[in-house]
């Protein structure tokens, strides 16, 4: 796979952009992208449940899953440092309800349940505000992550062209 600099070079055939590509990254890197949230709003149990939910929504398949893409950390960051406490409350309430549901039915919290039980319990929350918010955060976190975005079939940040391609059923390729 070409790296970003190669893509840039291939696309524009110019050194003008390249000289500064590294500088841009250096400027931006002044912020620690992976630092823990400034606000701590999740306890370990909630974090564990969210991680399990993210894995259920976007599991690793032939492409990386939510856990490979650091999605739980991103979801926690947005819930903690981006949302207001009122905005995040439905998520916290929903996680608690989901956990209580699992304890009532299977005698253990969500994180300790079997995959089948987790899937069943999560499916029962699909109409809830918690599920809608978490699903959106997981999907957005995934597709804006390096592992998620770059593993997509159409990933091409420096296309150099706008054109239409047609799917050829015989070869299974777009051309």
């Amino acid at each position: 796979m070409l790296n970003r600099r190669d893509l840039l070079r291939a696309a524009i055939g110019s050194s003008a952009g390249l000289a500064f590509a590294g500088l841009h990254r250096a400027c931006l890197a002044a912020v620690d992208l992976d630092a823990a949230p400034a606000n701590r709003v999740l306890d370990d149990a909630e974090r564990e449940i969210l991680t399990a939910i993210a894995d259920l929504i976007l599991p690793a398949t032939d492409t990386p899953g939510a856990l490979d893409a650091g999605v739980p950390q991103f979801v926690e960051l947005i819930l903690s440092d981006w949302h207001t406490s009122a905005e995040r409350q439905p998520v916290l309430d929903g996680l608690a309800a989901l956990d209580a549901d699992c304890r009532a039915r299977w005698g253990t919290g969500f994180a300790g349940c079997t995959l089948a039980a987790q899937t069943e319990a999560l499916a029962a929350t699909e109409d809830s505000e918690m599920f809608g918010m978490v699903k959106t955060l997981v999907v957005n976190g995934y597709i804006t992550s390096e592992a998620g975005a770059t593993s997509q079939a159409g990933y091409n940040p420096m296309p150099g062209v706008y054109r239409e391609v047609v799917f050829d059923a015989a070869s299974g390729r777009w051309a």
Partner: protein
């Protein structure tokens, strides 16, 4: 640094850049004053080609910072972490509105102004626009016609680089076009249906100031998508990369960023502008510069604010405001009205590349007099396009099947956004607040602006006609929204120092020269006598180049 110049250009955006280029090429020693900070091509495009994972909050943005400092700008469509450094700090630059009549003042705060972040759509006006006011009686007659500006359109288009398709429409004149960007299959289908089922309507590829082939050392578009993050190959037009470098090449230009213009002084004897009062935003020093000519290109609101604040004994209502119309007749384009639907089929097709452009459906309402079924005057155009849905779409469930569904190209959707002409209403105005001042002690601008009945009826028609076209093209699940109906959201504010024949009812003459101040020219959006429904920037470019060459001629003749 010398303080005496042949010409002073206030503002370095779309208009100021052209004034600087033309005046310096005519041999005039020119000072360009810009309120924003200096930025450098390439070096200051920190967000160019940056993927979202290089930002802590990714596409969500730094909410705390944006709500504190960019509460107006961050509401604008393509403000993002990748380009925040270009935009105005709203906390540091306050203005006054009343809650019932908001105004969104979208501003740059950099050398090159909004030309770094503009939408790049470039359409010539026609006599349908220049004669509009005289035809239906709203507003005053323009002192110019299409033939007056036509050669200047050609000149600026050739230098700026506009890609587009000639269509032969009298009300949307063809220009000097680079090769057009392509329509995709769904857009071609919608075009065929519209042009067959709705006689008089046309769909074409957008005319856009983005190079589809190299021009004057600038590179062609590489279709990465977000032009407004900056473009290292300079494929889109900006002052920073096109007109200001041309001015520098003459050796006649001095560019002074960090320079807020407070007011202009005039000589009571000659009636001419003498001193331009500047606050250096870094040192807070107050400075004066003198020029034989002054070109006011500080944006519609900025230029009008400077004129209003140049009150004096001779000009108690503000400079060049004997008529009392300065600040009134503010227009914009209705913006944010959309119709979209799902287009069945075409699932064996998808596109590669992010085309920084879309389709255009030129105005088709009230072309030959008033349409019988139109409850409004003037008209609107549509911009939009078709694309396949991606990870942003809704899909039920979760797990491997859900993931596979989102990873595959989704259905095609086609969207149409209306841009409608807003009439020049005397009551839509900006003025100076009597009490509030900014951090430099300059009176804050107060806005009293709103959409009125003609605009609202037009928006109803935009939705009805957009819906009927998408339905005819086979769209399903058609949805629409009238939009926020907030003045300023179109970022096409104009008209507050209008041109006209009569000094009693206008600020500027047919050459953008102030009726009352012979060495003062105003060539940004404030000069517009009516608003048309097409994007105005290419007209600002043409009208500025025309005025600058005329002013240089007057200097050569010794008139100025």
């Amino acid at each position: 640094m010398t303080t005496d110049f042949d010409a002073i250009v206030i503002g370095s955006g779309i208009s100021g850049g052209w004034a600087a280029k033309e005046l310096t090429e005519q041999g005039l020693k020119t000072l360009v004053l810009e309120r924003g900070r200096e930025i450098e091509h390439i070096r200051d495009y920190q967000g160019e080609h940056q993927p979202p994972w290089h930002y802590r909050f990714r596409a969500y943005g730094d909410r705390e910072l944006n709500e504190r400092d960019y509460f107006i700008q961050s509401d604008f469509g393509w403000f993002s972490e990748n380009n925040r450094q270009f935009w105005n700090n709203d906390r540091l630059n306050p203005y006054v509105v009343d809650e019932a009549r908001p105004f969104h003042w979208v501003r740059g705060d950099i050398l090159g102004g909004r030309s770094l972040m503009w939408g790049r759509q470039s359409y010539r006006w026609s006599d349908l626009d220049f004669e509009a006011n005289s035809r239906d009686g709203h507003g005053i007659d323009w002192p110019i016609r299409y033939r007056d500006i036509e050669p200047w359109y050609a000149q600026v288009e050739k230098f700026a680089g506009i890609s587009g398709q000639a269509e032969g429409l009298p009300h949307l004149p063809d220009g000097e076009f680079l090769k057009p960007m392509p329509l995709n299959s769904v857009e071609q289908h919608v075009k065929a249906v519209i042009e067959k089922d709705f006689p008089g309507r046309r769909l074409t590829i957008g005319r856009v100031a983005v190079l589809t082939e190299p021009l004057n050392g600038r590179g062609a578009c590489h279709y990465c998508g977000p032009c407004h993050n900056g473009c290292s190959v300079s494929a889109y037009f900006s002052s920073l990369t096109v007109t200001l470098p041309a001015a520098k090449k003459t050796g006649n230009v001095t560019i002074r960023p960090d320079s807020v213009v407070e007011r202009l002084d005039t000589d009571p004897q000659t009636g001419r502008v003498t001193d331009v009062h500047v606050v250096d935003t870094k040192t807070r020093e107050r400075l004066r510069f003198r020029g034989r000519l002054v070109f006011l290109c500080a944006s519609t609101v900025g230029s009008t604010q400077i004129l209003l604040n140049s009150r004096s004994e001779e000009h108690p209502n503000g400079l060049a405001n004997g008529s009392g119309v300065l600040g009134r007749y503010m227009m914009d384009h209705t913006f944010g009205t959309w119709v979209r639907g799902t287009m069945p089929g075409f699932l064996d097709r998808k596109t590669i590349g992010a085309r920084p452009n879309g389709i255009y459906i030129p105005r088709f309402r009230n072309l030959e007099g008033q349409d019988e079924d139109a409850g409004f005057v003037r008209g609107y155009g549509f911009q939009g396009g078709a694309s396949r849905e991606d990870w942003n779409r809704e899909a039920p469930g979760f797990g491997p099947a859900f993931k596979a569904e989102l990873a595959a190209p989704g259905p095609w959707t086609m969207g149409l956004g209306g841009f409608g002409e807003i009439l020049p209403h005397a009551g839509n105005r900006m003025l100076l607040d009597e009490k509030k001042v900014d951090r430099y002690g300059i009176p804050q601008v107060r806005f009293e602006v709103e959409y009125k009945d003609n605009e609202k009826r037009m928006i109803d028609d935009i939705i009805a006609r957009g819906t009927e076209m998408l339905a005819a093209a086979g769209a399903t699940d058609i949805r629409s929204h009238p939009g926020p109906m907030i003045m300023g959201r179109g970022v096409h504010e104009m008209g507050t120092a209008r041109m006209g024949h009569d000094p009693a009812e206008s600020v500027l003459n047919a050459w953008n020269q102030a009726h009352e101040v012979p060495n003062l020219f105003v060539t940004d959006g404030s000069c517009m006598t009516s608003g048309s429904c097409v994007n105005p920037s290419i007209t600002y470019m043409a009208i500025t180049a025309r005025a600058a060459n005329h002013a240089a001629e007057l200097v050569r003749e010794g008139v100025l």
